[in-house]
């Protein structure tokens, strides 16, 4: 049951749109650039043969906390709104 909200949003296409919104916001606020810099630094240290997993784990530990609150707030609100909207549309 816990996966139901996720699955419902996937089904109606909302999840893709929400993901795109989050992505835009993270580009706009410069977070993506921060991630790029972290990656580039890591590559400079470890060479270009670096594996994806290494990059990802480093970024996760360093950059995840840098996401601005406003972005998080906006997305939480929108997700909630969409869940409610789906509830409405199923009930009617």
């Amino acid at each position: 049951m816990k996966s139901a909200p996720h699955q419902r949003l996937v089904m109606v296409g909302d999840r893709d749109a929400l993901k795109e919104l989050l992505r835009l916001r993270l580009v706009e606020c410069g977070w993506r650039d921060q991630v790029k810099i972290i990656c580039k630094d890591l590559i400079k240290e470890n060479g270009q043969d670096i594996a994806y997993d290494t990059l990802l784990s480093t970024v996760t530990s360093r950059a995840r906390s840098l996401v601005p609150d406003s972005v998080k707030k906006e997305l939480l609100q929108k997700i909630k709104n969409h869940l409610m909207a789906q509830e409405e549309s199923l009930k009617s």
Partner: protein, 332 residues
């Protein structure tokens, strides 16, 4: 498909059950957000990983520039670290290829392109003098000569700007000048070329008609002069131009009300002849209902309306839409 349909129904049921509790909704929102963030982050890292693995990032990287372009933040200096004093510079005039001091280029260009206030007077003078064969003034007048005029008229030029804005004051100035015997040179415009606009009053109807195919021709209420801009002159409407020509025809035989006309030849252009004749011909055939963004500078004033919707624009036309604010910026 029924397998899928069944599963969809089951999913929907579970979903409704789940969201019936508000705390579930909040928890789910949070979880979904975290998932999305993880995925977007993964995507950004993939972008970097991919460009590295495919070599694009190297290609992009290239060899960095070694010169420093750092901004300088010191008082008295500009961002380039230079002193804040103006150095004199020269440039080549695109019109006549002469070298001109940059700070006087605009002045030069105006005369060079034959557009200045003085240009017509100079041109007329030239014509008059060459026919009278006065050696000192034949050929190209020196810049210095014009400068003398310039400063004189600058002083006189206390912006008598009337409602139609910037250009009108140019015309009014020539009223002063023409009647002003104190100006340098002191030549009388009116003895110049017979069919030039300055001699409008004395021209035959045919000549007037011909002239009116080349210039806007609308009489300004304030200066009583013909507008000698092109037929596309934005200050006057097509209706006004039509009226003007109709007027000419109507008073062809009778006495015209053009006695007091005084023509300013500032912006008379030779080159547009054919185009303008065509334009005039087209007026009768089409009423343009298209607005161009250059026309409609939006305004809150409800009394002005775009050409498209209200054909009785009473002489306001584009002039009212475009702000005729013309603050003067004197150079340095």
């Amino acid at each position: 498909m029924s397998g899928i349909d069944e599963r969809v129904d089951e999913l929907n049921k579970k979903f409704l059950e789940f969201v019936s509790k508000p705390e579930n909704v909040d928890a789910a929102s949070k979880e979904i957000y975290e998932d999305l963030l993880d995925e977007v982050m993964m995507g950004f890292v993939f972008d970097v990983h991919r460009t590295v693995k495919t070599g694009s990032s190297d290609v992009e990287e290239g060899i960095p520039d070694d010169e420093s372009y750092a901004i300088v933040d010191l008082p008295g200096l500009d961002v380039f670290g230079q002193q804040a004093i103006k150095k004199s510079q020269d440039c080549a005039c695109p019109n006549c290829d002469r070298g001109v001091a940059a700070c006087r280029f605009a002045t030069h260009l105006e005369k060079c392109m034959g557009m200045g206030r003085n240009s017509s007077r100079i041109a007329s003078r030239r014509i008059a003098n060459s026919s009278k064969d006065l050696s000192t003034l034949s050929g190209v007048l020196s810049d210095d000569d014009d400068d003398v005029d310039w400063s004189l008229t600058n002083d006189k030029r206390k912006r008598r700007k009337d409602r139609n804005g910037l250009k009108k004051s140019k015309q009014s100035k020539s009223v002063h000048r023409n009647g002003d015997t104190g100006s340098a040179g002191g030549e009388n415009n009116h003895t110049s070329n017979e069919n030039s606009p300055s001699n409008y009053e004395n021209m035959s109807v045919e000549d007037k008609r011909a002239l009116l195919t080349q210039i806007c021709g609308v009489v300004s209420e304030h200066t009583k002069k013909l507008c000698t801009r092109s037929m596309r002159c934005p200050q006057h409407t097509d209706d006004q131009r039509k009226d003007m020509r109709a007027n000419l025809e109507a008073t062809n035989n009778g006495h015209s009300n053009q006695d007091n006309l005084h023509v300013d030849v500032d912006t008379y252009e030779e080159g547009d002849g054919q185009n303008l004749r065509d334009a005039l011909a087209r007026w009768d055939l089409e009423v343009s209902s298209h607005s161009s963004p250059a026309d409609s500078a939006s305004t809150t004033s409800t009394s002005s309306s775009s050409r498209k919707r209200d054909s009785k624009s009473k002489g306001k036309g584009k002039g009212s839409k475009r702000d005729r604010g013309s603050p003067i910026s004197q150079g340095d």
